[in-house]
Symmetry: C2
Subunit: 439 residues, 2 copies
């Protein structure tokens, strides 16, 4: 169907794939397709007027404008879920509620957080960033001195290597997308390119790695290849316009677009150029699980192409048969999203989703597809391709390479847990309930 | 200078315009330009190690990860300024602190707000949107029914018609950019195109206007030409991913990309299609000031091309001579920003700023230019062009058409106060203090 062809009659809302998936442009061309598609909200002019009877909030002055605005009290359920709400001395996870969000930007209050020893309360006036080791000139930077350097802004996702680890389970666990996919978020990050600072320090030709260390009580550190440091690595200072959130590394973090979250060291205080990786705790243990053949899955940094449907998704209940928009997010550490396909029959037939422009590299791209649900059980899936031609593998392909867990996973750090980028399958039953499934 | 030409020596950081403005790509090509440009942060390897002595926050467990994250306590000054902090029964303004932000997205807590009767505490489960009047089928929508329609996301600025009204004053008032330009912000908005809903209702050929009405206690209403309603008008439901903030129209608002803020009716409950505008209070009075010739400045909806420098800006003090990045935002209700020029001598000579990609239509575009300040007094200005070839007028051109106020303006709604889109001039004196000036 041509993109600019008018859609003047019902034939254009005929399915293009099984179980009611419609053409991605079915509703864009006007001409009555929608009037034929949606029903049940019609009323008379008299009834319309009755809808406008003043509610209590229309009969009195409203609330104060606040210095720093917060969501409505009616949205108090839109929060991160916490793995360790008592902040006991172990890792705390806060997961993003993607099923309650829309668009591509994650608001700062809901960006995912993993803090291995809590969020240090850093005094920005005392914080320093030191670059030393295999450099020509060791340098120290304050927030004020960094503010004088050239800055860049980019929208980019950030994802924990362990995100979606529940899908390694041999049985499909019943959890919503906040539990399954809540360790990825997307923001506009602004800061100074690390290459700019390394141009100032100079680089000893022996330098192959940059060991980044945080000011948290663990001094969490990871090794970054010098090539990434000189490519698009950033010292991030701002997140969606304002200073970084405490859980996201205030007052500065290393930001490595498209690379494993843990490497994006928060509370960054040191970059030491070295000729070898540090083999610190997170590098050698947590983010180096053992593969089925016995080798460590180590130094695998890229968050590969991935997608998941957010609307509908597990835990939701459909409001009866009829028209819906299937919507989700796709992203790739390799670059831009080129294509997303959606299936409503567990992967046998597919329809191409519309991508919200602009599709930015290493950022969330929202995809959407109109769907007429007939009330019968279906299985929804999405599959994304990036501009490098990389596609999401099937779950079977991942399990063959990486193994799976035979028991339900309660500890998301358990093996295998890292870098799952296969499909998610959401089963809708005849009652409209949506559940996690394997298909 | 070619974009890809290496910058290997000092000549490439020679000024391209008066008072130290450098080429916009001076720092992008590497090769030592920076090492020659920045000084004063160098230290020995021993001194580097001393910088890394643990601070108190590195010696104990950090703070709890919260369900909804908030900025660090050290950022408590980064708030909106309020015109009516006691929420007395008149208009409340909350202004965005652009001098403390960076990038292009305004975080939701800091988006500007104007509430004429406070923020109504709308119960989203009871809220209704009715579309009636000159339509074929009056329809009513709940949040749940709207959720089934095709959605769109777009990053767009929103600006009060009265933003920058202080610059109509005959004398340059001493205020920072939060006071001068704080009534504009930029977010990612997600919702349903109004054209989609009007396709469902059908449109009577007599309909020329859409009167939009809010559920606030004033029932604030404005008239929108049907052509805009069918172009890019949106029923916005989400702001930077989460539900609209109460001050920005929760649970739904009319969003008219590039058009006067007041028309983007919040708490939207009614769209009535009519053959004439409503001539309501805000349409006929506040946003219809009298021009010097006696005619009303009415039905002028577009927020035209504009820019202002955020760093440095009034109230800041420069940290001594040397290199800085001049940075600001540009935007146009007509479409994309095509070019921004910066002057450091009050408009006599100009250098072209770098534009942060992607430059999206009707959205903030961040511009940046490297600058070597020699410590002498200068006057900084920016001037933007949009893709339609429209440029910011001079202040003299605006005053000739629109008048000015002979006394300092304390009430920003006073005449003339609307749609100022001339330049801002920031004077830097030898002490480094930055002040608002006319040049």
């Amino acid at each position: 169907m041509a993109a600019n062809r008018p859609l003047h009659d019902l034939q254009h809302v005929e399915p293009v794939a099984a179980n009611g998936l419609l053409h991605r442009r079915a509703f864009l061309a006007g001409g009555g397709a929608l009037a034929a598609a949606f029903t049940g909200y019609r009323l008379s002019e008299t009834a319309a007027a009755q809808q406008l009877a003043d509610e209590p909030w229309s009969r009195k002055a409203g609330l104060r404008v606040e210095e720093y605005g917060m969501p409505s009290a009616y949205e108090k359920h839109v929060v991160r879920t916490l793995s360790n709400p008592q902040a006991q001395p172990r890792t705390q996870h806060g997961r993003t509620p993607h099923h309650l969000l829309h668009g591509t930007i994650t608001p700062n209050g809901l960006h995912f957080v993993i803090s291995h020893s809590g969020n240090p309360d850093v005094d920005p006036s005392r914080h320093r960033l030191v670059i030393h080791g295999l450099v020509r000139r060791p340098l120290v930077f304050t927030l004020d001195t960094l503010a004088r350097y050239p800055m860049v802004s980019r929208v980019a996702f950030l994802e924990c290597g362990g995100n979606s680890g529940l899908l390694f389970s041999s049985d499909p666990l019943q959890a919503n997308i906040q539990a399954i996919h809540g360790l990825v978020s997307c923001s506009e990050w602004t800061g100074v390119l690390l290459s700019t600072l390394l141009e100032e320090t100079g680089i000893d030709p022996q330098a192959k790695w940059v060991v980044a260390e945080g000011a948290d009580s663990l001094a969490l550190h990871r090794s970054v290849p010098i090539s990434k440091a000189l490519d698009d690595a950033m010292i991030a200072l701002y997140q969606n316009g304002e200073r970084l959130m405490p859980g996201n590394g205030y007052p500065m973090r290393l930001f490595l677009p498209g690379w494993e979250g843990n490497m994006n060291v928060k509370y960054l205080r040191r970059l030491k150029l070295t000729d070898q990786p540090s083999l610190g705790f997170y590098e050698a243990r947590t983010y180096a699980p053992i593969l089925p053949g016995g080798k460590a899955y180590q130094f695998y940094f890229l968050q590969e192409v991935k997608s998941f449907i957010t609307h509908p998704s597990p835990g939701m209940r459909m409001g009866g048969p009829g028209f819906y928009e299937i919507s989700g997010v796709a992203y790739s550490g390799n670059g831009r999203i080129a294509k997303v396909m959606v299936s409503a029959d567990g992967g046998r037939t597919w329809a191409q989703a519309a991508l919200q422009e602009p599709a930015l590299p290493k950022a969330f791209t929202r995809f959407r597809l109109p769907w007429r649900w007939d009330g019968q059980p279906v299985v929804l899936q999405s599959r994304a391709w990036d501009e490098g031609g990389n596609a999401q593998p099937t779950r079977a392909e991942i399990i063959a390479r990486r193994g799976q867990t035979a028991k339900p996973v309660t500890n998301p750090m358990a093996f295998p847990s890292q870098h799952y980028n296969g499909p998610s399958s959401w089963a809708v039953d005849a009652s409209g309930e949506v559940r996690n499934a394997y298909a």
